[in-house]
Each structure stands twice: as structure tokens, then as C-alpha cells.
Symmetry: C2
Subunit: 336 residues, 2 copies
């Protein structure tokens, strides 16, 4: 069996910087036509100059593949002039609650202190992307954040809000209730629960933020993805860490899925007889919701066994992907 995907998009991606960027960028640009690149570098991407420079570095790392990086500013208290200057060069701004995830220390401590920025974004039609977690108990953080999404959606009815990497059934409900809210979901949150992270042995390579939740949460997310929910987009949140930061005492959060995401998604959608809906999930929804026009790229996948590498190495880095050393049922056979 074969499937052709047209201009697949990854609407939530971490490419890091320097040598790690050089290693992982081609692993995305080979098969994806575009990706929303998160700005949580150290220091974060907080002005137009940094944004341009980062975009340039990404393009140079793409090994000539047709690929559009959709750049994102790290949310902070910008002036109207700064926003006006940046607007045409970015797809949106990403808000991190301070300390919620990797490199988010510069994030927002008090949401209500930056409402004037939301107001400007609403008026200027700049999308807001949100890492939606409180600082509560780990299994409740996303659910507790829903009241903040509701507040934002109703207070700023024309602000376009993306709930990034949703992990709960509650988020799917909120997605359905507010016209100006859309969402991304990762590969791993369609597949795993907390059982896979900490139910048997502890598995650092499946540890991410937000953490994988309960079986009923996964079911709600999977149902929304498989049915090509019109406001749900694939966003891998693929997040490479050096192996030294994963297999150690106190490991960092993030699952690296970029190189196998399309093959694994094809396997998943095929298992549920929903292959026809994958194109919407990995590209069409995002094109419509964000109005982006990615370069033309046709990716052919075939139902054929594919051994996921144990690691991707290069530029002094060694990154372990999800499903390392396992055999998938689908593979990418051609990109044109």
C-alpha cells in the first residue's frame, strides 16, 4: 500500500541551534515542506534581528531541501512598533509560562500583566501560540490551564490562539467550544500514556512536557486526529537533547520524532483505516488555519518495514529518537 502526502507541515518543532541544529534540521527538511520553529533558544528569540539571523541559520542547515521555516517570536512585552516591524516576518508569538518547560525561564510569570500585548496582537492579527500548563501537579497542569484559554478566547475574541501540543481530553473539549482556538498535537501523545513513561521501567526517551496523560486522554486526542478535526494540526514538538541530558540522573524533557514522524503517522492512521485523513492532519488544516503556502513537496510512503536507527549522530551530537531500534510498518520511499 502507498500514500502520497503533499507538502507535509510540522506546526511545532524545535531545531535548537549550532551543531545540534545542523544535525537535526535536515532530518525535518528532507520530508517536511515547512515547520513552525520554536524560539526557546538560550537566549530566546526576542527581536527581529535575532529572528532573521535564526531563520538564516536554519535555511543554511536545510541542505538545499525545499522548506519554509515559519518563524516565531518568544512572547514578551513588546511595543506596538516592534510588533508592527516583526509581523510580516513571523507566523506568530509563542507564550511560555515562566519555567514551564525547557528554556522557558524568560517566559511570562503573570498572564494578566501582559493583556495589553494580547490586545495589540488581536488588532494586528498576530497569532498567539501557547504552552498551556500551570505550575500545579504534573497530571493536572494542562487541565488547570483551560480556564486561562477560556479567558483569553472570550476576552480577545479575534485573537487567534493555538493550544500547543495538547495532551488531554479537556483540551479537545475547549478546542470545540471556542471559534478562535486551534491546536497542535504531537505524534507521541497519540500513541503513549504515562504508562509508557513510568509504568514499567522509567523511559527518559518518552519523557516530555506536557507529560503523557491517561488512556482516556490519548483516546480523545487520537479520535480528533484520526477524524481530521478541522482545527487540529500535527506539530511534532520534536525536541532533541544530547543523550547525556536524557540518560542521566534527572533527565531533560523532550521526545525526538522528526525523522520518523510521517512514517509512524502513516502506520497509525492506517491501523485505524483513516489514511485518507492524514493529509488534512499533516498539512491542509494548517494551510487553511494559518494561511501559509508551503513549497510543493510530494512524499510517498509505503507499507514496508523500516528499522528506526538507534541514534542520529553528527556534528558532535548523538540523539536518540522515539522508537529507536524498533521496526515500523511504513517508510518514506520517495520525496519529490
Amino acid at each position: 500500500m502507498e500514500l502520497k502526502l503533499h507538502s507535509p507541515l510540522d506546526m511545532h518543532l524545535h531545531l535548537r541551534d549550532e551543531n545540534m541544529m545542523k544535525l537535526v534540521t535536515p532530518l525535518t527538511t528532507e520530508t517536511f515542506a515547512g515547520a513552525v520553529v520554536m524560539p526557546n533558544l538560550v537566549p530566546p528569540v526576542t527581536n527581529l534581528e535575532m529572528l532573521h539571523a535564526y531563520e538564516q541559520r536554519i535555511r543554511e542547515s536545510a541542505q538545499g531541501h525545499a522548506f519554509d521555516p515559519y518563524m516565531v517570536l518568544f512572547f514578551k512585552d513588546y511595543t506596538e512598533a516592534e510588533l508592527a516591524a516583526a509581523k510580516e516576518h513571523m507566523i506568530g508569538m509563542k507564550l511560555y509560562p515562566a519555567g514551564a518547560t525547557t528554556n522557558s525561564e524568560a517566559g511570562v510569570a503573570q498572564i494578566d500583566s501582559v493583556e495589553h500585548v494580547f490586545k495589540m496582537m488581536e488588532e494586528m492579527e498576530i497569532p498567539l501560540m501557547v504552552h498551556g500548563e500551570t505550575h500545579g501537579f504534573v497530571m493536572d497542569r494542562e487541565a488547570e490551564f483551560m480556564s486561562i484559554y477560556e479567558h483569553l478566547a472570550t476576552s480577545f475574541p479575534k485573537l487567534q490562539i493555538t493550544m500547543e501540543h495538547i495532551t488531554t481530553a479537556k483540551a479537545v473539549e475547549v478546542l470545540d467550544r471556542f471559534e478562535n482556538i486551534k491546536a497542535t498535537v504531537t505524534l507521541q501523545h497519540l500513541i503513549i500514556t504515562l504508562d509508557d513513561v513510568a509504568g514499567g521501567m522509567l523511559n527518559p526517551h518518552l519523557f516530555c512536557k506536557p507529560i503523557a496523560k491517561r488512556p482516556e486522554d490519548r483516546e480523545a486526542l487520537l479520535e480528533a486526529a484520526l477524524s481530521a478535526h478541522p482545527k487540529l494540526m500535527f506539530g511534532s514538538d520534536s525536541a532533541p537533547h544530547p543523550i547525556s541530558a536524557k540518560e542521566c540522573c534527572g533527565c531533560a524533557a523532550g521526545v525526538f520524532t522528526a525523522p520518523l514522524a510521517l512514517a509512524r503517522l502513516a502506520q497509525l492512521f492506517n491501523e485505524h483505516d483513516k489514511l485518507d485523513n492524514l493529509q488534512a492532519f499533516v498539512s491542509d488544516n494548517a494551510q487553511r488555519l494559518y494561511g501559509v503556502k508551503p513549497p510543493k513537496k510530494e512524499v510517498t510512503l509505503r507499507q514496508e518495514s523500516y528499522a528506526v536507527p538507534e541514534a542520529y549522530e553528527g556534528h558532535g551530537h548523538h540523539v536518540v529518537p522515539m522508537h529507536a531500534g524498533e521496526i515500523l510498518d511504513w517508510r518514506v520511499v520517495e520525496v519529490s
Copy 2:
């Protein structure tokens, strides 16, 4: 401030075997007067000869400290003659659902297939100790097992049942409802929640089975312990693993607390102004509930800073304890 504890007991302990046993046994026998030693070796302790030999090896590893190991047979389908022969040499039998935790592969797959053994144990007054987890979702496993405890407690009303290492508010409720059910609780489950295991960085040294649960679960356990609940006993479940099995891809379950347990408990009980209740929790309840008479041992603890070692090393092993490298407020200053 000082506190004297008389003959403290650890009612749930893993001493392992061979070199690991030689390293960790004195770290318990130095301050504890007795301990219930779990039988999940590889292969498990399933006959009187193995039990005697294991007891002998433990006594030889105790470096001359006054200490009684309370031996436990690994639950299986024993004959009445086997039980009769073993009864005087053990404190009880430990039932593991197959595969629920470290070295439990030989455990029971179907509880209802061994009810005749429970019947014999009831008649012969042999206590039953249970690792109470189903194979469900990791956060639900203990709560789901409560119906099995209820079934056992009502079907065998004279069978003495210990819920080992309880981790949930639900287990505290069951403890209060059935006269023939008692329980042990660990140090870590009085202190940590899942947040400490996977809320920030992933912490393999706080990963154990049953996994630490929600804040409201910890509160219920702590309240029961601090109030010297008459059917709740300290059982550290201290479970050493070589560092190679903890800080790796897929780490083993178990927290090593033996050498610092009494100091940390004194600190905890003191923080809540409940020092007077610690003696019941760490010894008197167990003596009354099991009818054991441990050797006399007086442990003096003082409110004084104590740097927990980064690791305990010896016999070719390297074991990282809970609170490694941290400063506690209390320490053991004398044992007599």
C-alpha cells in the same frame, strides 16, 4: 532537641543477595532492631531450605549488630505440609501479582486460583503480605486493587492481611474499614508525589513501584503516619539498585532509603510537631500487630545537620540513596 527510639523496625525491606546484600545489610542493621526481608530474589525464596540459607547469609552480613531478620516466603501454591513446616520460621508470605514489580515474574497470575492457599493460611494463622497493584494504568493500579483486598478481607475474615507500601488515600480508607487489614508505608510516599519523579526533570532515584501518586494521596498517608494510626507501620521498601540500572535508558524501580530513614522520619515528624508518635510508627505498632519481640536497641537522634552521602559504595556496588548530597536536619548520634 533529641529523640530516643526503642528497637525501630523496618517492616518492608529489600536486602537483595551476594555483594549488594553485603553492602546494604549493615546500613539497616546498624540502626534497626529488625526488618521484614522481602523474598523476591532471583529465583525467589520458595522453600524452607532457601529461607534458612538466606536468613543465614543476612545474619552473616549484619556485622554483629543486634538484629532480627523476619523472613518471608514468596507466595505460591504450597501444600499444607510445606506451610506447617515453614510457619515457625517466617513472619508471613508475600504475594506478588505476576510482573507487578522487580523480580515478581514468578508471582500469581490469577488471585482466585489460589484461594485454597489463603484458606490454609487463615487456619494456620500465617499472615499474608500483598503487593497490591493491578496491571492497569500506572496511577490507578493500587486503587483498582482495593476490591481484591476487600474480597480477601471478607472471604477470609481471620486471615491477617498487610497492604504493603500503600500510596493512596483509597488504601487508607480500606485500612479503616477492615479489621483484618493492616498496612506498611514507605518514607518516600510520605514526602513525594509524582511531581518529584516526573514534574520537573525525570528523577530515576525517586522512581519506585507503586509510583508516587497525587498530593491528596500523600496528605492522607502522612496524616495516618503522623497520627500513629494503630494499623500503619513503617516499611521502608528500601530497594537498592546498582547505579547502572538507575541512570540509564529504562531505569529500574526502587528508592534506597535504609541508611537515612530514621533521621528523615524524625525530621518529618518534628516538622509536624508529632515526634511523640514516631515510636509507634516505627516499632510499637509492628510489635503489637505481628507479635514480634525484637532485640533491645536504643537509637538516639538529634536535631543537627546531616549531609546524606552521594552514594554508598562497597563490594563492587555503588548505590545512590534518596536525598543524596542533601542536608537533613536530624541525624542518628548514638545506637546502644
